[in-house]
Symmetry: D2
Subunit: 226 residues, 4 copies
């Protein structure tokens, strides 16, 4: 898996702070922008996060290049609807080589891993045979496995990143999408550390775990008598 932040709204935290300040101000955004200090940005972002006033976080957008995730993972990922995706097409791209993902539980057991890899490669050989027999790629792909790798470009704003991370950084989330959003968090950290600090599992915002059983980060609601 490769994740790179390729573009983002410049000065993302300043942009958010200016938009938020505008709501309570009689002056216009460009003048607010000139005057805002790092300290003011810091304290305003804190306040917004504490009070759940999250809409200004929508003004900061982040565009990621994501490579080598499985189609199983991409099918989950594109269910998030407040984001933009451009994904490598299995209809239009023919795969001479088939990059693929091996789950860690399989990776750890050499005998299973061998069986897994043989299955993926056998599927790829049938795919190649179908293409050779004149079947179009969009139909030949029906034999390709969920493990097949895919690339995409994803744009998501900071508010939605916080929401998605609240679900996908939970240690109980599916491992590949958890790994993906951990990598995304690392990328955001480089350019927007205050936003990145808030990319965290839901329990850390709630103050408790709302699953049936806790992973240990936070006690469940029942355990806290809430």
């Amino acid at each position: 898996m490769h994740v790179a932040l390729i573009k983002y709204t410049p000065d993302p935290e300043l942009t958010i702070a200016v938009a938020a300040r505008l709501c309570y101000s009689s002056i216009e955004a460009p003048r607010i922008m000139e005057k805002m200090s790092e300290g003011q940005i810091e304290s305003l972002l804190k306040q917004l996060l504490a009070s759940g006033h999250l809409s200004p976080f929508e003004h900061a957008n982040f565009t990621f290049a994501i490579g080598g995730i499985s189609r199983a993972c991409s099918h989950q990922l594109v269910r998030h609807r407040l984001a933009s995706f451009s994904q490598q097409s299995q209809r239009y791209v023919s795969f001479k080589k088939l990059p693929y993902v091996v789950p860690p539980t399989v990776e750890q057991k050499p005998a299973l891993k061998e069986k897994f890899e043989e299955a993926v490669e056998a599927a790829h050989r049938v795919y190649a045979d179908l293409l050779a027999a004149g079947i179009p790629a969009e139909d030949a792909r029906f034999v390709l496995p969920n493990a097949a790798g895919t690339n995409l470009v994803m744009t998501m704003n900071a508010r939605e990143l916080m929401h998605v991370c609240s679900l996908r950084l939970c240690p109980k989330a599916q491992w590949e999408i958890l790994q993906l959003f951990s990598a995304i968090k690392k990328e955001v950290e480089k350019v927007a550390p205050r936003i990145a600090a808030r990319l965290q599992p839901k329990c850390m915002q709630l103050g408790y775990c709302d699953e049936r059983e806790s992973c240990g980060i936070m006690p469940t609601r029942a355990e806290m008598n809430l």
Copy 2:
């Protein structure tokens, strides 16, 4: 593939007409509703469609049970973001039998079909072996093919149905999703014939084909000197 309209906004065309009329009226919706005749609904809907005033069509919602489409198709389908999906999970459901979809191009050639089916069944056997060896379903599914069948419930409003059909009922659309939206159109016809009549490829609304080459329904824009 099975498609059934399981629920929908009652009187969908009346609902749209009332919402549209309200915009230009000094009286409230319940009174408009009482007074509206079939003829008025008919002519108002025509006018809305002709002028591209489509937002009132959002008030009529349709919920479909969709069964036996491939995961290749569902991955495409869920890219439509102005809709609600609840999909059978390959993480939580273990498949003792694996329903699957054979593309027509493969179906037509017995030798290829046999090869295809063997490949799918071989993948399913490895899947079963991985489960038996203690691998969780969410990881074993990595060997399952795109051909694997899936079930889902989808809710979409009439405006979005018109938009999606404008793309997916084009004869050049991928065959399975074209088949899916043809079946959806048939279901809508039973309860909202005027809306169903508008579920049609884009060219029929535009008056020309905006692809490079036409399928023959409409001439291309270039051919019409537009």
Copy 3:
């Protein structure tokens, strides 16, 4: 203010339960639907709400006729983007009479109320004069006050209703939109009591108040040492 639920997805709670069950089942929605008992719906909905698995609630849609709210209120209301609105137009409707809303704080003080009503009526007279002088309604309306009444049709699904109510039923919300969503809740109660029970201020879901100062329903997070 008048609020009437004019249309909704039939059997809204069953619809949600079927969609949710499908995710974990090997059978298709129509068969799940046949077999589901009231008790099963009840316990499944509880479980979904407790675990925050809210997407199935999107399959139940509710369409409301809303009349006599102020344009101040409608401007706030249409900021909710996961909903459909058809609103009476001040561009196309000319108001011979101007219905308007008086805030309770003004209503309570006769002298202020008189001043307020004179102001609104004076504005309406200038509006009528502008129309009479040939100014189009879309420009004459510039003198109309925020207090001016408006009618609209709004469709919102149960998930978004829960979200919006979590904000707008807070006793600290602006009074008119709080009153609007209280009326909406009453309408939903008649047809979907389990969903209506969950239309409540955010604190009742969180277990604490996340505002700086609590209204008294729940202690603040700080007061609970969370």
Copy 4:
């Protein structure tokens, strides 16, 4: 009215082109990005626009500071749901001075203009009186007119900008929002001329006017026998 593009996705046209190319490529986005020439961007964007393949345009976001538009205009503007808005609040800001907008049809007639301005100023005086009498700003604002000025920050992606401009740059659109999106187009021209070129009324994309009567830019569909 003041409009300033305060932030945007750097290299917006390159970003779109890379996302689009990725769909048909076996290599990842960062490598595509390195290799793409100006000529390739140019021809790819043309092709995307001609074929209506618009989703890659979502990866380029634009954040505008908008000042001095009327609340009549902002109420229309925020109806566009695929955008992010942070707007100056009339609940939290008290207006000692009331900036306001005079429609051109009124501006042109001195007698009407005087009447209009007196009405707005009279409303503002009552507003000030209500505040002085202890009425909270959120209620005093009920007497303020639609003409009252407001400031906001708006983020919209290139795809949605194209859609909104297709409606709002029509010469038949309401004059203030037409003026707003004309100013927005000028701002986009400075940094993304190829995108800006496509910010145009719907008729210029369709090849005909779909209103009942044409303004003259394009003949109506009926006039073209389409």
